[in-house]
Amino acid sequence: MKYSYFPGCSLKATGRAYEESFLSLCKALDMEMEELENWNCCGATSFMSVEMGAAYALTIRNLAIAEKAGLDMVAPCGGCYGILLKADHYYKKYPTVHESAVKSLKTEGLEYKGTVRVRHPLDVLASDLPPRALRSKVKKPLKGLKVACYYGCRFVRPIAPFDDMHNPETMDLLLKTVGARIVDYTMKGKCCGGAMSGAMPNVAQEMTYLILRAAERAEADVVATACPLCQFNLEAYQDEIRAAHPDLKPIPVVYFTQLLGVALGLDATATALNRQIVPVEPILREKGILADEKKQPATAGV
C-alpha cells in the first residue's frame, strides 16, 4: 500500500507529534507514505474570502502534483483534508474556480484532471488494511484506558466521504480494536473553537471548556483527536480555561495515532508522547500499558 502524503504546515510545526506518530505507525503497518514533492500551503486560510480564485488555485496545485504521482493522497490535518476535498469539488462544479485554477496551473506547466482521491488517515487505517491486520499487531492492548474520541468538524462536514456526518465512529472503532474503552459523550463532533482562538479567545475557550468538561464527566482518561488544530486548541489553553473554570482538571489530549502506536508497542520516539503539554505517560503507566518510569529510557525534549 503506497500513498502520497500531504503533511501541511501544522504537521511540521505544532503538530509534529501527529506526523511522527502517524509515519511510525504507517511503517509498522507496512503502509508507505511518500511525501508530496514541492507541496505548498493547503489554502485553508482566510485568504479564501479575499480572493477565491487564487486561493483555490493554491489548493489545486497540490492536487495537480498528487495526480502526477497517481496515488491516493493522505492529508492528516483536518484543515488540509477539508479544503482539498472542497477544492476538488468546486473545481469540478464551478467553471469560475476551474478556469482560474487552470490558468494559474498553466504558468507552472501543471494541469489537474480531477482524478485524485483525498484520504484521511482515519479512513485509510479503517478501510485499506486487511481485516485483523491491526489487531494482530497489538502488543500492548490499551486495556482500561478510557478514551473520549473527538472528531471536530472537517473530516465529516461539509463533505463526509467515509463516516457519518453527525455521528462519526471511525476513530472509536480503531481504538476499540486495540483494546481501549470508548466513552460516550455528546460533544465529539462539536466545534473545538479553534477558528476563534485568535480573534475572540474567550469564546473559543468557552467552547473548548464544554468539550473537555463533557469528556471529563464521561470519565475519560484522555481525549483522542485526529487534527492538529483540535489537538492544540483542546490542550494548549487548559490553564487559561482553568482561570475561569477552576473545576476543570487537566486532561491529556493526544492524537489517535499516538495511542495506536502505543498499542502496537512502538517506542517513545515513535509515539512522540514526550511532546504533550499535559503529560499522558503517567496515565498509561498507571493503567499498566507503559512500563514503569525507571525502566523507561529518558526521552528527548521538544
Partner: protein
C-alpha cells in the same frame, strides 16, 4: 408470410392521417400543417388533415366521417401519448366501421412538442414518426378483444384502517373479501393511537367497532398473522397464495378467554411488547391488545421457552380447557382466486436513530411520537400517566417537528400528518402533565377541515411555537438551570438568534416512510414505486387508486403519507374501483398476444423456458410449440427469441416493426 395474416388481403390500403394541434400544446412547437402536408405525399395516404383538438367529439367525428367519405381502412393519429388516448381513437376508428386495430397512434406531444424547443427539429421528428406509423399501419390486421369473466371476490392486503374500510365496503356490497394481515390482529397503526385530530375522539372508540364488524362479517374471510406469498394470473382472475404463519393456537377452538396467558410460567412479561412500542413487556403467549380482532392468542416462538427447546411445564396448554394450544402447528398455505386486489400495506414510521443529533436511543427521555401515543393512552404501558423513565412528571416538553421529513439528509417529502399529530400530542401532554410545551417547527401545515382552528386553539392554550429546525439535543449545560436536563438548541428564525431551551422530555415527530419490504411487495403485485418508494398510482390526479397493473388498487399510506380521513376516503375509492370491475363482470383482454405458425416451427424448444407465464407448451405429437392465448400476456420475448421467425405477436409483428424502424430513419 401467411396470407391470412395480411390485413385486408389484397384490398388497397387507404390511410387517413390526422394531426392534432392540442391547442398550442403541439402546434406551439410543431408545424402541424407542414407535417400534414408532408404525410399527404406518402404512399397510400388518402387524406391528411390537422385539427385543433382531435380528441374532442368534433375531432372524433371528423375521423368517422373521413373513414366513410374516403373509404379509409387505416387510421393514424398524431397527438398525445397512446397511453392517454389510444382507446379514444380506437373507438372512433371502430365507429367509422373498421376494426379498431387498424389504428395507430403517434406520440408527438409527450415525446415531441413538450420536450423539444427547436421548431424545425421538432417538426422533423414529428414527420419521421408519422412516416414510421404510416409504414407500420399498412401491415396491421383486424384483431378481436377476448372477454374473460371476472371472479366475484377481492383480496385486501393489510388490515389497517385502509384495509378495514375497503374490506367492509366490498363485503357490504355483497362481494367475497379475503383480508390478509401480517400481524396477529388487524387495526394497524390507528389502533395504537390515543386520540385522533382535530376532533380528539378516541381512536379505539371509532376503530374497534369496525374491527369487530370485520371479524364477524359473513362475506369476509380474515386471515391474520398471514402473508401473501405469490400472485399469478391477470385482471379479474388472480390466483393468490397466502402463507398462514403458525400462531400455535387452533383458531377454531380458541375462544379468547385468555386463561393461557394467566397460566404462563412467566408471571410477568419477558419480551418487548411491540404494540406498546417496546415501552412495556409482554408474555410469550399473548394477545396484542384487549380489543384485538381476531380475538385469538398467539405464542411468540422467539420468546416461548418450550418452542425454543427449553424445559417448560407448558402450563398454558394445560390451562386451556379446550386444548386449543398446539405446539406442533406448522405454517400452511391457502390458495384462493380473486378478481381484484386492494393493496393497503401502510407505512413505516421514520427510524429516529437516523437523526443521531436528536439523541434518540442515547437520552432516555427522547421519545418518538408513536411512543408518546402509547404513553398518553389509558390502556398504554403506564395506564395513561405521562412519566419519564425515572418516574417523574416532565415540567417542560419539546416537540420537534419534521424529524425525517422535509430533510435532504433523510427524506425530502412532507409527511403531511406530523404537524397535526404534534399539535394533538401537545394538547394531550399539556392536559396530562401541565408542562410547558415547546413546538419546534419549520412551517405549521394544517390543510384540512377544522385543522387550522385546532392550531389556533393550541396557541390559545399557551403552547410555545418556535420556528426553526432543531440543531441538536445536548446534555452539556452552560448555565446552572440546564444542569441535568436536555437542552434543545435551535435557531429561532423569527427572533433571529440561537435559543437553548432546557426540557425534560423530547418528542420526535417522526415522518412516514415506505415499509422496508415495499419493493418486494411491489414486485409481487407487479406494480411500480415512485422514486421515494411509495407505490405509484396510475395517474396522480385522474387514477389515484389504480396502478399500472389492471385490477390492483391502492389504499392508504402505502401510496403516500395521509391522515385517517384521507385514508378512509381513498379506501372507499379503491373499493368502488374494484366494484366496477367485479360488477361489469368481464374484462376485455388486449389482443397483442403471440401465436405460433406451425409449419415454420421446428419444435426446437428455444421459446419454452422464456415464458414467465407458462403460456408456451409443446405439442409432442406434432413436435411444435403451442401458445395458450389466455395465459399469454403479450410481452413478445418468445417472438424475439424464436430462431425460425415462427412466432408472431399481434400488433408487434416483425414486419410491422421492421417497416416502422426503416421508415423512421428515412429523413424526410
Amino acid at each position: 408470410m401467411d396470407d391470412k395474416t395480411i390485413g385486408n388481403g389484397s384490398e388497397e390500403v387507404r390511410i387517413g392521417f390526422f394531426i392534432c394541434h392540442c391547442g398550442s400544446n403541439i402546434a406551439g412547437t410543431i408545424d402541424v400543417e407542414a407535417v400534414a402536408d408532408y404525410v399527404r405525399t406518402l404512399p397510400n395516404v388518402v387524406v391528411s388533415s390537422d385539427y385543433k383538438y382531435t380528441c374532442s367529439v368534433a375531432g372524433q367525428d371528423m375521423i368517422v366521417e373521413d373513414i366513410l367519405k374516403y373509404k379509409l381502412n387505416r387510421v393514424v393519429v398524431a397527438a398525445c401519448s397512446p397511453l392517454l388516448h389510444e382507446k379514444t381513437f380506437r373507438a372512433a376508428t371502430q365507429r367509422g366501421g373498421i376494426n379498431p386495430f387498424f389504428f395507430h397512434m403517434v406520440n408527438i406531444r409527450e415525446h415531441g412538442s413538450w420536450v423539444h424547443q427547436d421548431r424545425a427539429l421538432a417538426t422533423q421528428k414529428a414527420m419521421d414518426m408519422a412516416r414510421g406509423a404510416i409504414a407500420r399501419v399498412k401491415f396491421h390486421k383486424a384483431l378481436e378483444k377476448r372477454r374473460e369473466p371476472v371472479r366475484q371476490s377481492v383480496l385486501v392486503v393489510g388490515g389497517g384502517i385502509a384495509g378495514i374500510h375497503a374490506a367492509l365496503t366490498m363485503a357490504n356490497a355483497g362481494k367475497k373479501v379475503y383480508l390478509v394481515e401480517r400481524e396477529p390482529t388487524i387495526g394497524g397503526h390507528m389502533a395504537m393511537f390515543d386520540k385522533t385530530f382535530p376532533t380528539l375522539d378516541c381512536a379505539a372508540c371509532i376503530l374497534t367497532p369496525k374491527m369487530s364488524e370485520v371479524g364477524s362479517h359473513p362475506n369476509i374471510v380474515l386471515w391474520s398473522y398471514s402473508e401473501v406469498t405469490e400472485i399469478k394470473g391477470y385482471v379479474g382472475n388472480y390466483d393468490v397464495t397466502v402463507k398462514r404463519k403458525p400462531r400455535y393456537i387452533k383458531e377454531d377452538l380458541c375462544v379468547g378467554c385468555l386463561d393461557c396467558i394467566d397460566h404462563c410460567v412467566f408471571k410477568t412479561g419477558n419480551t418487548d411488547d411491540e404494540f406498546n412500542q417496546n415501552l412495556s413487556k409482554r408474555k410469550p403467549v399473548y394477545i396484542p391488545f384487549a380489543q384485538a380482532v381476531p380475538r385469538l392468542v398467539a405464542i411468540d416462538p422467539a420468546a416461548c421457552t418450550h418452542l425454543n427447546g427449553g424445559k417448560c411445564e407448558q402450563s398454558c396448554a394445560t390451562a386451556c380447557d379446550r386444548q386449543a394450544i398446539d405446539f406442533e402447528q406448522k405454517e400452511t398455505f391457502e390458495h384462493i382466486g380473486v378478481g381484484a386486489v386492494i393493496v393497503a400495506t401502510g407505512f413505516k414510521p421514520f427510524d429516529a436513530h437516523r437523526k443521531p443529533l436528536y439523541g434518540y436511543g442515547r437520552f432516555p427521555d427522547v421519545y418518538t411520537a408513536l411512543e408518546v401515543e402509547r404513553l398518553v393512552c389509558s390502556s398504554g404501558p403506564t395506564g395513561g400517566d405521562v412519566v419519564l423513565k425515572d418516574g417523574s412528571k416532565p415540567k417542560s416538553v419539546g416537540i420537534i417537528h419534521c424529524v425525517g421529513s422535509r430533510d435532504h439528509q433523510t427524506n425530502r417529502w412532507c409527511s403531511r400528518v406530523c404537524c397535526m399529530y404534534s399539535l394533538k400530542l401537545a394538547h394531550l401532554l399539556k392536559e396530562h402533565t401541565d408542562a410547558e410545551i415547546y413546538n419546534f417547527y419549520i412551517d405549521i401545515r394544517t390543510p384540512g377541515k377544522g385543522y387550522e382552528e385546532f392550531y389556533e386553539r393550541l396557541q390559545e392554550e399557551g403552547n410555545h411555537f418556535i420556528r426553526g429546525r432543531v440543531g441538536d439535543i445536548t446534555d452539556v449545560p452552560i448555565i446552572p438551570e440546564e444542569e441535568g436536563r436536555m437542552i434543545v438548541r435551535v435557531e429561532d428564525s423569527l427572533a433571529g438568534f440561537v435559543r437553548r431551551i432546557p426540557v425534560d422530555m423530547v418528542v420526535l415527530a417522526t415522518g412516514l416512510e415506505p415499509r422496508e419490504d415495499a419493493s418486494e411487495i411491489r414486485r409481487r403485485f407487479n406494480i411500480s414505486c415512485s422514486s421515494e418508494g411509495f407505490f405509484l398510482e396510475r395517474h396522480p390526479k385522474l387514477a389515484p387508486v389504480s396502478t399500472t397493473t389492471d385490477g390492483v388498487f391502492l389504499a392508504g399510506c402505502c401510496q403516500g403519507p395521509k391522515d385517517i380521513p384521507d385514508t378512509v376516503a381513498q379506501a372507499g375509492a379503491a373499493a368502488a374501483e374494484s366494484l366496477v370491475l367485479l360488477d361489469v363482470g368481464y374484462v376485455e383482454m388486449e389482443p397483442m398476444t403471440a401465436f405460433v405458425t406451425e409449419k415454420y416451427c421446428s419444435g426446437c424448444k428455444t421459446c419454452l423456458p422464456l415464458c414467465p407465464f407458462s403460456a408456451i407448451s409443446r405439442d409432442e405429437e406434432k413436435g411444435v410449440a403451442v401458445i395458450n392465448p389466455v395465459l399469454c400476456k403479450g410481452c413478445g420475448t418468445c417472438v424475439a427469441a424464436c430462431p425460425s421467425g415462427a412466432i408472431t405477436q399481434n400488433l408487434f409483428e416483425d414486419r410491422q416493426i421492421f417497416a416502422e424502424i426503416e421508415e423512421l430513419l428515412v429523413h424526410a
